[in-house]
């Protein structure tokens, strides 16, 4: 018996860029093209023909997935992850190569595919289930489970257009989560819903993996990938550059400098700077103390934000601030010079100001930096939102093999834990200062 669930051999997919951008054409365009093309071709006679504008979204991708294996696929935007899944789901055809899939395939490229806003929750469960490839009897037996998971019992007979977005997503994921094919292809579906629901989804995905089903999991959520996958493939411009353990591949992905992730952000003419502000902050450089600039840190690294400023006229008593937001735009913290004890000296002409954190202590994920300069009297003089970004990788922070996952939250706090011994009363936790008080 063959134990390979998916075998991909030299799979390639080419897109014609022009055709893709123009989308559909009109007959008029086709007709004019027909008329103009021969003339153009005549004119070009003798000149070298320009290469056709195509891109390979996938190029010679080969890998195997065994039955029961959970394989993660990560890569930057445009690296071909979604195209790969689309080819494996048979949504689009490969240009070259082939893939064999042994077993019933279920795919989840987006939750709520085929939901109709006019239909009720109940009706949509059946419709969506059928679209995802479930049999009617199968949906019927799982119906109660689905509504329980989605927590929408009361709204079962309400058209889904009246649902809140949270309810909608919960229902959509609930149907998809009860799909039980031997092979499941999943794309980025965990990026929806609120935190509690995401956790629930992650738990459900874990169950699926533990049940011994084959899963291909595409995600940006590195924490989830590490938690769920047995091995991970790293895609880069359509080719597989690495297949290894989740830890190795994710750290490789994070340290990959291909996305000009050198930690230097030029702001002299930044599009996000509102017109009313003068261009004072010229550049932001991110680094760790004692190392060169970069955009990738581990939670226990130090962070130094270097602000290159050009102040004319001089700014007396400047107030500088750097705000940190997570990828979803939630502000994590603001580091402000004016919240500290000592006043920064006046800024005249070109100068550099640094803001340092001895430990970053942020969970894995991507963060955005905004920077501003002002004074107490004049208010803001310059402010650039999302001026810089950095990524925090996963690492075993405390040397005991336990990673801090992104789902734990963005702020890492060291905490002390002790067991209270009942016989000795409070003695187990009191420290020196308390002993003073007690005695």
């Amino acid at each position: 018996m063959n134990d390979v669930a998916i075998r991909v051999q030299n799979l390639s997919k080419r897109y014609r860029i022009g055709a893709r951008q123009a989308g559909y054409s009109t007959i008029r365009e086709t007709v004019t093209d027909l008329a103009v093309a021969p003339v153009r071709r005549l004119r070009r006679l003798g000149q070298p023909t320009p290469p056709e504008e195509t891109i390979w979204a996938l190029k010679d991708v080969s890998f195997e997935v065994k039955h029961g294996e959970v394989l993660g696929i990560i890569g930057r935007n445009g690296s071909g992850k979604t195209t790969l899944l689309k080819v494996l789901c048979r949504i689009t055809e490969p240009t070259e190569g082939q893939a064999e899939i042994h077993g019933r395939v279920g795919s989840l490229l987006e939750v709520g595919t085929g939901f109709h806003p006019e239909l009720t929750g109940r009706e949509n469960i059946y419709l969506n289930g059928a679209i995802l490839g479930m049999k009617r009897t199968e949906i019927h037996t799982k119906f109660d489970e689905i509504i329980e998971f989605a927590e929408i019992e009361r709204f079962l007979d309400t058209p889904v257009k009246r649902y809140s977005s949270g309810m909608y997503v919960r229902l959509a994921f609930a149907v998809a989560a009860h799909l039980e094919p031997e092979i499941l292809l999943v794309d980025e579906v965990l990026a929806v819903g609120d935190a509690t629901f995401q956790k629930k989804c992650l738990g459900k995905m874990g169950d699926v993996a533990r049940e011994g089903r084959t899963v291909l999991f595409v995600s940006h959520n590195l924490g989830a990938v590490q938690q769920l996958c047995g091995s991970v493939i790293l895609l880069q411009s359509g080719t597989v550059v690495e297949r290894n353990s989740p830890e190795r591949v994710t750290s490789m992905y994070l340290s990959d400098a291909s996305e000009s992730a050198d930690g230097v952000f030029d702001l002299a003419a930044h599009p996000a700077r509102p017109q009313k502000y003068a261009s004072i902050i010229k550049r932001i450089v991110l680094r760790s103390s004692g190392s060169s600039s970069r955009s990738f840190f581990f939670p226990d690294d130090s962070l130094v934000v270097e602000l290159l400023l050009d102040a004319s006229p001089p700014i007396v008593k400047p107030r500088l601030a750097v705000a940190i937001e997570d990828a979803s735009g939630r502000r994590i913290t603001t580091l402000a010079s004016y919240l500290q004890q000592s006043q920064l000296p006046a800024l005249t002409g070109r100068s550099t100001v640094t803001c340092s954190l001895p430990r970053l202590d942020l969970g894995p994920g991507r963060y955005l930096l905004s920077a501003s300069v002002g004074t107490k009297n004049d208010g803001l003089l310059d402010s650039v939102d999302n001026a810089a970004w950095f990524e925090v990788g996963w690492r075993n922070n405390y040397g005991n093999g336990e990673p801090y996952y992104g789902v734990y939250g963005p702020v890492i706090r060291g905490s002390e834990w002790q067991r209270i011994d009942e016989r000795s009363g409070y003695a187990g936790i009191v420290d020196d200062s308390c002993i003073d008080l007690l005695s």
Binding site: R90, G97, I101, G103, R104, S107, L109, L127, A130, I131
Partner: protein
């Protein structure tokens, strides 16, 4: 708990759910097989898509399914006044209102099916780019969804027959065949239009024109006996002529359509097979283009 175990064992008796299928994904070249077996495996989806189309159509409408009757009925009223009464168009000895309505019922089904099928793929772009299933299910369900409307309008037709005291002959037994011909015609043209519409959005604007011209090229307001005898078989090149004359023969006892029908059937079969192959050939690019 026991019930869920029971239903699980019931599940396992469904043959298609249990065989371990092997899917081979590779680029297809040239003309591809129709692969109607795949469509059969997805027959439940076909059912659900049809059911969705029917359900959604009359949500938030005041008159609901009455719309299925209103359109052919009022067209019949207008035709009766202008063509029947004022222009004195001959109707082969049959009362003009029922003469027109009997043709309008299959025509409304055809025109509606054509419009829905033609726009069906473009309207389902989010499905096509997100999940796999035989794409043929989309235009087919669009064509089938009109059958409920047809049934409702047909009941009114029976009522009118009763009113005019028309007793159908044994020819009424052939009616399902003419309905089948109407479905096949709508599907054949719908397949071409839906696949073309993905590539060329001009199709969307062409459909209303097309149906308008087609309406007058079809013997609805008039009888095909207006066409000179020697050209009548050629008139069957418009397959709806065959459908309409067939309906009148089966229900109103007009003379049988004869060679005209044979031409219509041939045209539909050619159009349908061609449409299926064209659809399958262009299908692989739908997700990239739509």
């Amino acid at each position: 708990m026991t019930t869920s175990i029971d239903s699980k064992s019931e599940l396992s008796t469904i043959p298609t759910a249990e065989e371990i299928p092997t899917i081979l994904i590779r680029p297809s070249r040239g003309w591809v097989a129709l692969n109607l077996r795949d469509l059969w495996l997805y027959r439940e989806l076909l059912y659900f898509l049809t059911w969705r189309d029917i359900k959604v159509r009359y949500k938030q409408t005041v008159l609901g399914a009455a719309w299925a009757v209103l359109q052919p009925f009022f067209t019949m009223v207008v035709f009766s006044i202008f063509f029947g009464r004022l222009a004195q168009v001959p109707s082969d000895g049959i009362p003009y209102p029922i003469f027109a309505y009997c043709a309008l019922v299959p025509w409304s089904y055809f025109a509606g099916g054509l419009e829905r099928a033609g726009n069906s793929l473009v309207g389902s772009a989010n499905l096509i780019t997100k999940v796999y299933f035989p794409r043929l299910a989309i235009p087919i369900s669009a064509v089938l969804a009109g059958l409920l409307d047809f049934a409702i309008a047909f009941v009114v037709l029976l009522g009118m027959m009763l009113y005019y005291g028309i007793v159908p002959t044994a020819a009424i037994l052939t009616l399902p065949l003419f309905l089948l011909l109407a479905i096949a015609t709508a599907l054949a043209v719908g397949l071409w239009l839906s696949a073309l519409n993905v590539q060329y959005r001009d199709v969307r604007y062409t459909i209303p024109f097309l149906t308008q011209f087609w309406l007058f090229a079809t013997p609805i307001a008039y009888s095909s006996s207006l066409v000179p005898e020697q050209w009548r078989a050629l008139y069957g090149l418009n397959p709806m002529a065959g459908v309409v004359e067939g309906f009148r023969w089966a229900l109103l006892g007009k003379s049988p359509p004869g060679p005209l029908l044979a031409v219509s059937v041939t045209v539909v079969v050619v159009l349908l097979i061609g449409g299926l192959y064209y659809f399958r050939r262009t299908e692989k690019t739908f997700a990239d283009v739509v």
